[in-house]
């Protein structure tokens, strides 16, 4: 209660000093808003890139996933025994369990003949593996040997190829010593590890990779019977099946990949550097303003000391200023990026938007940024010595 009382008695010097010099305050606030904007852009693009790279998993048509515990990203899935899928069907609540085969493939670009790295996935075309109506409407075609469907949003110069396919002029190319025929396109998007996705039937897949054991599947796609809680069924599966396979909900499977990319990809590092630089820019600007302010008031501060104020009183003035600047600067620093996200989302087709989490993160960083600058600026207070000033 004592501190509350003294807080109430206290002259709000930090606020009075800042608000008396509107120009200086405006500079500080624009600096903070600018740093926040940079942080929001870095973090926003980072997250949207991460998100765009989980699109394959996010497009899967399943309630639960079985995968090898050794699975990493979608490009490094490892395999587990197909028997686990049969065993999974014994668990109450499991409606169906089907295999998805996945592998990386180098194919020759249909026009340029250059090698490109793609991902191939094979599954039973009678039971769609993806929630992509455009793909599913064309799945009957992959029942023909060596026929594939291709991702129209694949990275690379495929415009002409895709235009041809859309006009039903099938495109052929070489891969793994076979001649493949691409007879349809769908929209998904490239990812870190692969330029794009090819889908086909399990049979075509296994013919493409003759050394691949049909009993080793990459992902199990499970559906849950109505009225069952996927989380509980996942737990039951985990208890029922041996440790060479993991059961999880689709959301967990997506989250898993997000974490893989975040920890492993160099992109995350680059964005972190970007955000850190924004932070440093903010620290420098806020420090400039705060140290100018301390210098401008050093005589007044020395006078306060001569009146019997302790050094800690002067510290609270600087801390108060830091916090005021953090919160005031954060307001434009939050609103501005929301507008820019909108523009960027329209321009890049990336899923970029403000999240509560990110806003809280940047607010916390803004507070730390300002307090850090304030802490450095308080060193200048040492010279506020009434004995040597007058």
């Amino acid at each position: 209660m004592g501190w509350l009382n003294s807080l109430q008695r206290r002259t709000p010097l930090g606020w009075l000093q800042l608000s008396r010099h509107k120009g200086r305050l405006l500079v500080a606030l624009s600096g903070i808003a600018f740093a926040d904007l940079l942080m929001f852009m870095q973090l926003g693009f980072q997250e949207s890139l991460y998100e765009s790279n989980t699109q394959i998993r996010a497009a899967l048509d399943a309630d639960l996933i079985l995968a090898s515990p050794k699975a990493e990203t979608t490009q490094k899935l490892s395999t587990f025994s197909r028997r686990r899928l049969y065993q999974a069907q014994d668990v109450p609540g499991v409606a169906s369990a089907r295999a998805l085969y996945s592998n990386n493939i180098n194919w020759n670009h249909p026009e340029t003949n250059e090698e490109a790295s793609l991902q191939v996935m094979g599954f039973d075309p009678d039971y769609p593996a993806f929630n992509l109506p455009e793909m599913n409407a064309q799945l009957y075609r992959v029942k023909i040997p060596d026929v594939m469907l291709f991702d129209r949003l694949a990275r690379g110069d495929y415009q002409q190829t895709i235009a041809q396919i859309e006009n039903q002029q099938w495109v052929s190319t070489e891969a793994e010593g076979r001649t493949l025929s691409v007879r349809g396109v769908f929209s998904l998007g490239a990812s870190f590890g692969a330029d794009g996705l090819l889908v086909t039937s399990s049979q075509n897949f296994l013919q493409l990779f003759p050394r691949r054991d049909p009993g080793s599947v990459s992902i199990g796609l499970l559906h849950v019977e109505p009225g069952y809680d996927p989380e509980q069924v996942a737990q039951a599966l985990q208890d029922h099946l041996p440790d060479d396979v993991e059961a999880m909900t689709l959301d967990d499977f997506i989250q898993d990949e997000l974490e893989q990319i975040q920890t492993e990809s160099p992109i995350g590092f680059i964005f972190t550097i970007g955000a850190a630089m924004a932070f440093v820019v903010g620290v420098v600007i806020v420090y400039q303003v705060l140290s100018t302010d301390v210098n401008a008031h050093i005589k007044e501060y020395a006078t306060f000391k001569a009146m019997g104020y302790r050094h800690s009183y002067l510290l609270t003035i600087v801390i108060e200023e830091s916090l005021i600047m953090a919160f005031l600067g954060f307001i434009p620093g939050l609103l501005l990026p929301m507008g820019i996200y909108q523009v960027a989302a329209n321009a890049t087709a990336l899923p970029i938007y403000m999240t509560l989490n990110r806003a809280a993160t940047v607010l916390a960083m803004t507070i730390i940024m300002c307090l850090f600058s304030g802490a450095i600026a308080t060193r200048k207070l040492q010279s506020a010595d009434p004995a040597d000033m007058f």
Binding site: T11, M307, Y309, R310, F390
Partner: protein
């Protein structure tokens, strides 16, 4: 009439700046007693050590040698916290007004009270306004320093120094930045207010026109304090 306890009792006080080769003694064997309610003026050439003595008395500097008692408390060997407490009992007026430029006259005066926990918010506001009224600035409570003249600013500084009714007022050339008429008015005001509060004054000045307010004048010369010039001997 029994003589009251002296507000300031100094004897054998010395002070030096620097160390080793650089060491320079600026105060030598100072002795000075000031009784409650007395007005003492200190004169002396520039660099003779007047400010140094004032900062020692005001608790702005650590006392190195000898004895300096303020209200009976020895400041030689005092802790930093003791000095803070001593500062709170002393009003200090500097050559420059040193008002806070972001605070109004009233807020500046209020700062002289905020350091004393016993005053409530309402009381501080009221006392600050009353004090400004006493120095003739009752109409200018909400003016900022840059809206006031030099004399008005120094009067705000006096209000700030006296609002908490300190036992001692230290003033270091308070008229140096003012023209002689304004300076005279400011000092007279200071004298009246302090006397009404029973406040003791030690005032450093070069201004010969204000010597008449003194009960006693002491003279500093090369760090040595010459005593007991009767105030009327100057005239």
């Amino acid at each position: 009439m029994p003589s009251p306890q002296p507000v300031i009792a100094i004897h054998n006080l010395g002070h030096a700046f620097g160390r080793g080769e650089q060491r320079k003694q600026v105060l030598f064997d100072i002795a000075l007693n000031i009784k409650a309610g007395e007005i003492v003026l200190m004169t002396g050439p520039s660099g003779s050590g007047k400010t140094t003595l004032l900062t020692l008395i005001g608790g702005l500097r650590h006392v190195q040698s000898g004895s300096l008692k303020f209200l009976g408390q020895e400041l030689c060997g005092a802790t930093a916290e003791d000095l803070v407490q001593a500062r709170r009992q002393t009003g200090y007026i500097f050559q420059a007004h040193n008002l806070h430029e972001s605070l109004t006259a009233r807020q500046n005066v209020r700062m002289g009270l905020e350091v004393h926990p016993q005053y409530s918010v309402e009381k501080m506001s009221m006392l600050a306004a009353e004090m400004l009224d006493l120095v003739g600035l009752g109409e200018r409570l909400d003016h900022y320093p840059d809206q006031l003249s030099g004399g008005q600013k120094q009067r705000v500084a006096i209000a700030r120094a006296l609002v908490s009714r300190p036992k001692l007022l230290l003033a270091d050339e308070p008229t140096a930045a003012l023209d002689s008429k304004t300076g005279r008015d400011v000092v007279t005001l200071m004298q009246h207010l302090a006397q009404n509060q029973g406040c003791t004054i030690l005032l450093v000045t070069h201004d010969s026109r204000i010597l008449d307010i003194a009960d006693r004048i002491v003279h500093m010369e090369d760090g040595v304090l010459k005593h007991n010039t009767p105030a009327n001997a100057v005239h």
